[in-house]
Amino acid sequence: MSKILVIAEHLDGKLNGATARAVSAAIAVKPESIDVIVLSDAPDAIAAEAAKIDGVSKVLTIARAENAHALAAVLAPQIAKAAASYSHVFAPSTTFGKDLAPRVAALLGVSQVSDVMAVEGAHSFKRPIYAGNAIVTVEVDAASPVVATIRTASWPAAASNGSAPVQALSIDVALPSHTRFVNLQQGKSDRPDLQGAPKVVSGGRGVGSKENFDIIYKFADKIGAAVGASRAAVDAGYCPNEMQVGQTGKIIAPELYIAVGISGAIQHLTGIKDAGTIVAINKDGEAPIFEIADIGLVGDLFKLIPELEQALG
């Protein structure tokens, strides 16, 4: 039977919602047990949150001063050692998991299954390649440990009704000091988190400037949506990188996605394919975004957005 270790992602003492999505993928393997591991300088509050996730057998904590920041070079040796008694190690396919999990995999001497979108069996998974333009089924040797990152947009967050026990682990492993955290510049926002929000409004090159992007923020606030952007809008400096949606940005699956002034490059469409309803607003009726939109509206966004706000009352 499988025993799965899920690496918890957290920031500023709070558990990231992506962790509960990775637990959902772990549940799909139908394992004997699912343990969540929290590495932090102060893991208790994070572990308490993780303990509530349905399906979790127990939460393991490694409290060390070196774990204050998520440096892959520091975390990986501890996880690789803890992973010895597990058949699977899962991490969310966020920048945190993408940075860390391959380092763990290499220490365990295996390649990784990146971006798991479906579980076919304990050693069989589906994942996207070519920006999601092909889906492959991969089989991992039954004798090898499975290290995988979980494509969060493919999995709902497991519910939080559980109460798993929390256990402190002490792992005796020397940690490197060759990599050091300097700082993290975070965009301050009261808006919903882009990766977990049920509604998202995104702006593209058609918005035209950083100042014009206010129209997107205002409309998003009106309907309680998170705000995203196309690569073109981020490259042009209209908004910061953490708002980028697409192949190399965030892959999201909101119930409602409204693309405003986004033509729909294939790399952007990759990031929104799992959205419930896609709405496209663009002045070019031939834009590729309309090929995958559920509802399309052709016209000038600077005229249409205020009209939408008015229609909402």
């Binding site: 892959a72 070079a73 990986a76 966020t94 920048t95 945190f96 993408k98 940075d99 999990a101 391959p102 380092r103 763990v104 290499a106 220490l107 001497g109 295996v110 390649s111 299954v113 990146s114 390649i129 070519y130 920006a131 333009n133 092909a134 889906i135 492959v136 089924t137 991969v138 089989e139 991992v140 040797d141 060759h178 990599t179 050091r180 955290f181 300097v182 700082n183 993290l184 510049q185 975070q186 990766q195 309907i223 490259d235 910061p240 953490e242 190399t248 119930e255 409602l256 309803t277 896609i278 709405v279 309309f290 559920d294 509802i295 399309g296 509206l297 016209g299 009209e307 939408l308 229609a311």
Partner: protein, 248 residues
């Protein structure tokens, strides 16, 4: 200081990928191939570090079949000093690629290895991190800014929460994100010059590494298609449609 740069050849990013009807792969016959865009960014960054006097030599490394030479010549035309062609007819896994780089590191002793954060064919995003683990050296993934001075690299990384800056002692592995730089265009005289630059060819099988792949791809499928949507004529109709779906 030497810089090793991973330079992978992939299906061009503008090509619309088609899955073969029998599910054994994607159609690559007659399809345009180009450098992985993230690897062009990696090479550009290495060249800029050489131009700043931080590095003396930039070496592009490719892993692939005999006809990879023309691709490596492009890397030389862009400005790399020399190329290493690890020859194999097989597709290699990220772990095998990492082990291959580790072998080259033992010989070349680079101060930096710069790789693309992912290749746009398999989208694995693993090789740089694996190499750093096997080498027991720092990794700075998803870099959008790199400064090298005093035996260390200060790297700004694009992460989900924003921009993270870390410090890494050299030697180290850096993987590139899209906004690190804009790669230069290759000029005609540089293509001529590249013809006389050396390309070392080494058989992968002669490196003495474990190239077994314990993950097998058994089936390829086209992604599920979204059904064709409807067009609405104005804002009021859009709001009505979304209200009907219970989304507003």
């Amino acid at each position: 200081m030497k810089i090793l740069v991973g330079y992978k050849r992939v299906v061009d990013y503008n090509v619309r990928i088609q899955v073969k009807p029998d599910g054994t792969g994607v159609v690559t016959d007659g399809v345009k191939l180009s450098a992985n865009p993230f690897d062009d960014i990696a090479l550009e960054e290495a060249l800029r570090l050489r131009e700043k006097g931080v590095a003396e030599e930039v070496i592009v490394v490719g892993i692939g079949p005999a006809d990879l030479t023309a691709h490596l010549r492009n890397g030389l035309a862009m400005g790399a000093n020399r190329a290493i062609h690890i020859q194999t007819a097989e597709t290699v896994s990220p772990l095998t690629a990492a082990r291959t780089f580790l072998k080259l590191i033992e010989k070349e002793q680079p101060g930096l290895v710069i790789l693309g954060k992912q290749a746009i064919d398999d989208d694995a995003n693993q090789t740089g991190q694996m190499l750093a683990a096997l080498w027991d050296r720092p990794q700075a993934t998803f870099a959008s800014k790199v400064e090298v001075a005093g035996g260390k690299a200060t790297v700004t990384r694009e992460v989900d929460a924003g921009l993270e800056t870390i410090e890494a002692d050299l030697p180290a592995v850096i993987t590139t994100d899209l906004r690190l730089n804009e790669p230069r265009f290759i000029k005609l005289p540089d293509i001529m010059k590249a013809k006389s630059k050396p390309i070392d060819v080494i058989e992968l099988s002669g490196l003495g590494i474990d190239a077994a792949d314990h993950i097998k791809t058994t089936h390829y499928a086209a992604p599920p298609k979204r059904s064709k949507g409807v067009m609405v004529k104005d804002a009021a109709e859009l709001v009505a449609a979304l209200k009907q779906k219970g989304l507003l």
